[in-house]
Assembly symmetry: C2
Amino acid sequence: MNTLNKHLETVRINLADRSYDILIGENLLGQSGTFGQLPQAAAALIVTNTTISPLYEATLRQALSGHYKQIHSVHLPDGEAHKDWVTLNLIFDTLLGRACDRKTVLFALGGGVVGDMAGFAAASFMRGVPFVQVPTTLLAQVDSSVGGKTAINHPMGKNMIGAFYQPQRVVCDLGVLKTLPARELSAGLAEIIKYGPIADMAFFDWIDANMDALKACDTQAMAHAVKRSCEIKAFVVGQDERESGLRAILNFGHTFGHAIEAGLGFGQWLHGEAVGCGMVMAANLSADMGLIDLAFVKRLTDLIERAGLPIKGPVLNAQDNAGQYLAHMLHDKKSVAGDIQFVLMDGLGKARVSAAPEAMVRAVIDRCCA
Amino acid sequence: MNTLNKHLETVRINLADRSYDILIGENLLGQSGTFGQLPQAAAALIVTNTTISPLYEATLRQALSGHYKQIHSVHLPDGEAHKDWVTLNLIFDTLLGRACDRKTVLFALGGGVVGDMAGFAAASFMRGVPFVQVPTTLLAQVDSSVGGKTAINHPMGKNMIGAFYQPQRVVCDLGVLKTLPARELSAGLAEIIKYGPIADMAFFDWIDANMDALKACDTQAMAHAVKRSCEIKAFVVGQDERESGLRAILNFGHTFGHAIEAGLGFGQWLHGEAVGCGMVMAANLSADMGLIDLAFVKRLTDLIERAGLPIKGPVLNAQDNAGQYLAHMLHDKKSVAGDIQFVLMDGLGKARVSAAPEAMVRAVIDRCCA
């Protein structure tokens, strides 16, 4: 409990009365002070899953014990396949079964799936209760837990039902990253890499120079990567909370990535893996449209490969692979009136959202799939 | 289509970038102009139920036909018993099955249940699409369609899962009230009467003097009653959109009313009937606490009776009726840390929220149940 709080960084998300801090450091999860000055309540509910609970729930409970009279918990089944109504209702059943009131604070302890569901439950329970994100994967720390997007999936599409609902705080404990499987660490690195091409080439250079330290989960390197990623996301979300414009650039690589996830069935590739490969495709499309040169496409592709991520897309359909990708992308919720919206690089360190000629998109898919 | 637009009134809800108008008049439903200047979209979805669809859907479709290329509809089963996940999902299934995008505008055509579900669907679909309330009951016109409360029920409690989400417009067509069953008209009158004791005694006097005209659904009288009710609601919601304080006074009669609805099983009494009887109880409690005199309690009780509403609560439990009421009220989502919050009259035309001594509450329940 008294462990020295090394590398503590704070990033502020500025959203008027919905502003909040992201705390970044080692051993935050087990410290009572991490959870001070949150809205007062008699009860807290820890929302976690069956994989994470044995690892960290006891530590979090201990840290929360000085703040709440009652600490309840609910253990969701693990995995994207369970990000649905049935699982969401487990959270409501627990809240109502334990007679929780509209002051109850929810703590999302887990990766992106737990965070998305706990966040949507918090947005909806009694029309809104406070919640805190305690992300336990790198991907959730640098992306999904920050910015207030919450959702569940529908059989006809990912993240189709949800809310923009901001947490009271995000707690990024770098210690938990050390026990992540290598595949999940790589998936998180994809979202870190993303921030370079769309917003900050100096950060891209830094990632390039420090990839080995990041893959080894070096604390100092990871602290910087998480902080800078959160800063860029904070800046973008602060400009456009509800994704009416700028915020869409954070979806670089995601349009192609969603097609991969949907085409293979969600959960086959990790989200970060699909985004990594999707960035290769989006960069190729940007080059074909004359927005960047091929030298950068190669540099980005190499970095994604060094992060341990796939750089070739799967073949979803042997007859008409590009057509299959297009069908999935058309179904993405960013499509408007039948036009697929791509996030394209617009020079180095800059992005924009636009449609693209279908023939060009088909050529990119054909070139980038193995 | 060219019918003269008699008695057209507009009430503005001021909520910064979420502001909108309530239109009140005859024959609004069938006029194209009623639906002009809404957010542009290729498609609209009419959310209605199996009872209302045969009466008004064709008329609304006709009025919308100049504004949207595609007009889809979904027919929900009628009744409070269906205000749940399963029915809500019918809306999402239709939206996704018809390839609707995040610009699609939802039209809630029906009473409070349809409005609550269509509103929550609009709040959640792709994290928020625009919606318009077209309330077809008096209760929905003067209360539930205005102010942005949306929700579904959970087996353990009413309106437990939802969102604060404002419509783009509310269209109160007074013509549809003429075909309402008498029992539903009376239920709506309960919510109109409510605005007097908590906010406007001159309006209370006016209702008292015009009860016969209101029960006969006289257009001029009804136009004034709907307008003044919406104005008061607009003022209160404008001060406190998310019910952190003042807005709770709109729940006058609702704490006892919810106990009646929950105790009998939702749908046995209409919501307005339970609220009418609940106001009698809340007024009695206010008098017992020395906040108003008994003469007003009698005047309010008489008016509620003249509106065609029950003034005696049902016996929910022969052994311990008051205990049964208390158990249901404790479960209400306005309870905080185990304290039941009552909306009490605080002098005439004023209300406040406070706890009350249990013995006094029990005495009121014993006195007010038959």
